[in-house]
């Protein structure tokens, strides 16, 4: 099987018409020493039923839990049926980046709608068309604000570990300095942040809510950052923005985050979608694709990829980033999701996720040994202690078709990071609590 329409007869005729006898003759330009003489070391090709069976076997070798209390960067929210039905339309799926605007108005308009929704959620003025994921968005945002005299990035300690690791890789590779501010009681240590903010700092990255689900004293962080002449980049959980104060409202210079919760399934970690939004004055620093509205040669409204002078295909080594794709289909899913949930629906998703988490936190923390570790307000994730061997506990929950919270070690203690979303029912939470109460076999 090879998806090649040409018959053997046609191939022979076509070869003849260009003065060649055999397929091999097409590759005369490749030195003989570099020609791969035998077959590639791969198994033989398969027919469709065999392929499907092989993949079903692999898929069946994964566990898909009925109930999930784990987040930590990837979230199970309900996805309305319209999302995959519409985003799965072949015209969208099999299109290229909309370089040819006239025949790509559908893709371009959808991105324009996406940019508008991201601006609305974040309270920022300009959004790009999306980047690879939330972690990379954070790394790109810090790179975007680096200046000749201000080269140091500062990251608050309570951010998602994988985001921090990604930022580290980007900074180390670019040879840029990075400082990590320690956490204090699960939140950014404001005194330590103030000390870290010297005149070489270009930007500060903080998450709201942070890795532990806690809300940071974001306005104080914004003030400290501003007073030091640095830029504030906030990493946001997009669902929470339907309720919580937006980065625009507290004066952040960039809002970034992982948009997977908006209509994209868990999918073992990808493809996901990073969003990035800034103030209009900084739009020319923004990496990635941006769609703009204009008119065509007859004055009709039209959409185009714009401000391309920022990008690699024009600026080459002077571009701020090499990114050229925008996870377009994931962005389309996010757009359709936001449209389907709507103004009121997304607020409800946020509210329910938070309420379920607060109910779960209250019930779980009543159990001896599972007390809440941090005080103060949290959104839909929270951390408890764990009085038993976490592996045994997770195994017990798994036997009941529950993916428990994420165990982690801090200061030599075992902790669990729990998550709820609107899909978790009270019944599920009560069952979890019962199972926790029952302990684990020693």
């Amino acid at each position: 099987m090879n998806y090649v329409p040409g018959t053997a007869e046609e191939q022979r005729e076509m070869l003849e018409s260009i003065g060649k006898k055999r397929m091999d003759d097409l590759f005369e330009c490749i030195p003989d020493s570099l020609r791969h003489k035998e077959d590639l070391p791969l198994p033989e090709g398969m027919c469709e039923p065999q392929v499907i069976e092989a993949f079903e076997d692999m898929a069946n070798n994964n566990k898909v839990y009925k109930t999930c209390f784990r987040g930590a960067g990837a979230y199970r929210h309900f996805i309305p049926s319209v999302v995959s039905r519409l985003a799965g339309r072949a015209e969208f799926v099999t299109a290229y980046t909309p370089y040819q605007a006239e025949m790509s108005q559908g893709v371009l308009q959808a991105i324009f709608e996406y940019q508008t929704m991201i601006c609305e959620l974040t309270g920022m003025e300009a959004s790009n068309a999306g980047v690879y994921d939330g972690a990379q968005a954070a790394a790109e945002a810090l790179a975007m604000f680096r200046e000749r005299k201000r080269t140091k990035s500062v990251v608050c300690g309570a951010v998602k570990p994988m985001t921090l690791q990604t930022i580290k890789t980007y900074c180390e590779t670019a040879g840029a300095e990075l400082a990590v501010v320690p956490e204090k009681n699960g939140r950014t240590d404001l005194d330590a942040l103030e000390k870290a903010l010297d005149d070489t700092v270009s930007a500060v990255y903080v998450e709201q809510p942070n890795y532990y689900g806690l809300t940071e004293e974001i306005e104080k962080i914004a003030d400290l950052t501003r007073n030091a002449g640095a830029k504030l980049v906030t990493g946001c959980y997009p669902i929470s923005l339907a309720l919580l104060k937006s980065p625009g409202e507290y004066g952040a210079d960039a809002a970034v985050g992982e948009a997977q919760p908006l209509g994209n399934p868990l999918s073992f970690g990808g493809p996901y979608l990073g969003f990035m939004a800034v103030k209009m004055k900084d739009v020319r620093r923004l990496p990635g694709r941006i769609v703009g509205q204009t008119v065509d040669n007859e004055g009709r409204t039209a959409y185009v990829l714009t401000l391309q002078a920022r990008e690699q295909h024009i600026r080459r080594e002077k571009a701020g980033s090499s990114i050229c794709s925008n996870q377009a289909l994931c962005a389309l899913s996010a757009t359709i999701y936001c449209a389907a949930m709507g103004k009121e629906g997304l607020r409800e998703v946020a509210l329910r996720s938070m309420e379920k988490a607060h109910y779960a936190a209250k019930e779980i923390s009543r159990i001896k040994g599972y007390e809440l570790i941090y005080d103060g307000f949290f959104f839909n994730e929270f951390v408890t202690a764990c009085p038993v061997e976490p592996g045994a506990l997770m195994k017990k929950l798994a036997e009941n078709d529950i993916l428990g919270g994420l165990p982690f070690e801090r200061d030599g203690q075992t902790r669990i990071l729990w998550c709820c979303t609107e899909v978790n029912t009270r019944e599920e939470i009560d069952k979890l609590v019962e199972l926790l109460k029952g302990g684990v076999p020693v």
Binding site: N2, Y3, V4, G6, I18, L26, F27, C29, S33, L34, H36, L40, P41, L42, M58, A59, N60, V64, A72, V82, G88, R89, Y96, Q100, A101, M103, Q105, Q109, A110, E113, M117, M162, Q165, T173, L244, K245, E249, L266, S267, F268, G270, P271, V283, G292, T294, D296, A302, Y303, A309, I314, R316, E317, A319, S325, N326, Q327, A328, L332, K343, F377
Partner: protein, 481 residues
């Protein structure tokens, strides 16, 4: 022009609903609440469905028609790949649920990495990068970490030919390298003398696409590799054009040390209107310790994650664009060694066939047998009567063909870069050749008409200058008072 989704609907209209709440309400501290709601649409389901269905009708994919977009390999995207990527056993898996319950995912990743090694002649693979440009950045980070580990920090120069994709120098700059551009020779290949004159103790690596962006195989590649390696530098392979040589020749055998693939090009995963793609990085054994964490290892049929000892860290969250990787493996398993080789053979055959049939009418930039793509130049026509590459491209739009890549590579003036791919039939190629010729005739007869093309699309040529001067990047809601 269709309305924006924000301009449809009415306050109070809903599409989705949630079950009634079964837990107590929670008071949010007022200082944490947003004061102004996000103005998301309020639309009924049927109107939402029609809105995006209508937008899809204003998009053009491989499933709509011929897409000879050079350097992008717009081959057919098999539907079975979509089917297997939609399996609940993949889409419903949490990335942090542990190795024990994700053996299927890990096996898939491990198998794909192995297949990529076989196809490229490399020894180790990371599937983490989300796209080609991301792969470049990752590959260059490996080179940087390797050189730093050896104490060779004076190697800061990255050599890039002038025919390279723009991502090459941009990724190199992100990795903190200084870029040295070298010219192509009159045959469109790397100027070996120029290369010799720039390599030295400060050379980190050469980045090369082979076949290059002109669709020509760098036949001196062994010598090129020797020059760079002798100077102590490494060779990076931009896998964008791998579709020309699967089963024919392997980058690992050519002397490349590290490379990326574009699974959304060569391995048939859909482009999605601009992603998600997947840009795995493959490397030789000596670079394996520097690969991003984690990699998938196998022992006695059990799969697990492992962190390479000198890993550069992460380039994103989790393990890559997993569902894209699912599709790519489905493609590789469908084709097998023989099918992959036949794909490349027919990709090259189709390109040469089209070039041969066009070259009496159009000026081919390098009149020599090509690989999977070729470049024509409209410079003579532009001089003759002002018709540009863009005009020809827009003429093709009116004939229902997606235009070739325009104005790239930069070293060919008024360039159109044509890559038919192997999944197009001879009839499609013949019809496209006919369309190209008709447009050429029209260009000679009535250039003014071509300047106005396209006329069959929802909009004509957009005013890009105004878009840049006065950027409108979001919908402005009517004022609420």
């Amino acid at each position: 022009m269709s309305k924006l989704i924000f301009e449809t609907g009415k306050p109070g209209r809903r599409c989705a609903c949630l079950p009634a709440s079964d837990v107590p309400e929670v008071a949010i501290p007022p200082q944490l609440m947003r004061t102004k709601p996000a103005r998301l649409p309020e639309t009924a389901e049927v109107d939402l469905v029609r809105h995006y269905t209508n937008l899809s009708r204003k998009a053009f994919g491989v499933d709509n028609g011929f897409y000879p977009l050079g350097s992008c390999t717009m081959k057919y995207n098999p539907k079975r790949n979509e089917e297997v990527a939609a399996l609940k056993g993949f889409t419903g898996v949490h990335p942090l649920q542990g190795e024990e319950t994700t053996q299927g995912c890990l096996k898939l990743m491990h198998t794909l990495a192995e297949r990529i090694c076989g196809i490229t002649g490399m020894d180790a693979v990371t599937l983490q990068p989300a796209a080609g440009a991301h792969g470049e950045m990752t590959g260059l980070a490996l080179i940087k970490a390797y050189l730093t580990d050896r104490g060779e920090t004076e190697r800061i120069k990255l050599i890039v030919p002038d025919s390279a994709h723009g991502t090459n120098p941009a990724s190199a700059a992100m990795a903190g390298f200084t870029i040295v551009n070298i010219p192509s020779n009159p045959q469109g290949l790397v100027d070996v003398q120029a290369l010799e004159s720039v390599v030295g103790d400060d050379t980190a690596a050469l980045m090369l696409t082979n076949p290059n962006t002109l669709g020509l195989f760098e036949r001196d590649i062994e010598k090129i590799a020797d020059i760079v390696h002798s100077a102590g530098g490494l060779l990076y392979y931009d896998g964008a054009n791998m579709n020309a040589i699967m089963g024919i020749s392997r980058p690992g055998d050519m002397g490349f040390d590290v490379m990326h693939l574009n699974l959304h090009k060569t391995f048939s995963t859909p482009h999605g209107g601009g992603g998600p793609g997947s840009g795995p990085v493959a490397c030789k054994e000596f670079l394996r310790p520097f690969l991003p964490s984690p990699l998938v290892a196998e022992k006695d049929g059990i799969y697990s994650f492992e962190n390479p000892e000198k890993s550069i860290g992460r380039v994103r969250s989790f393990y890559g664009n997993f569902l894209v990787n699912v599709r790519a493996l489905a493609y590789i398993m469908t084709l097998g060694a023989k099918g992959l080789r036949e794909s490349s053979e027919n990709a090259v055959l189709n390109a040469n066939y089209m070039m041969e049939n066009l070259k009496d009418t159009y000026t081919v930039a390098f009149d020599t047998p090509c690989m999977h793509e070729f470049v024509i130049t409209l410079e003579p026509l532009k001089k003759q009567n002002g018709v540009t590459a863009a005009d020809i491209a827009k003429g093709l739009v009116d004939k229902g063909i997606h235009p070739p890549t325009m104005y790239f590579p930069l070293i060919v003036p008024e360039a159109l870069m044509i890559e038919p791919t192997e999944t197009e039939s001879r009839e499609t190629l013949d019809e496209a050749v006919e369309a190209f010729k008709e447009i050429y005739a029209a260009a000679l007869e009535n250039p003014g008409e071509l300047h106005r093309a396209p006329v069959t699309t929802p909009v004509g040529r957009p005013d890009e200058t105004t878009a840049v001067r006065n950027p409108v990047l979001r919908y402005e809601f009517p004022s609420e008072d």
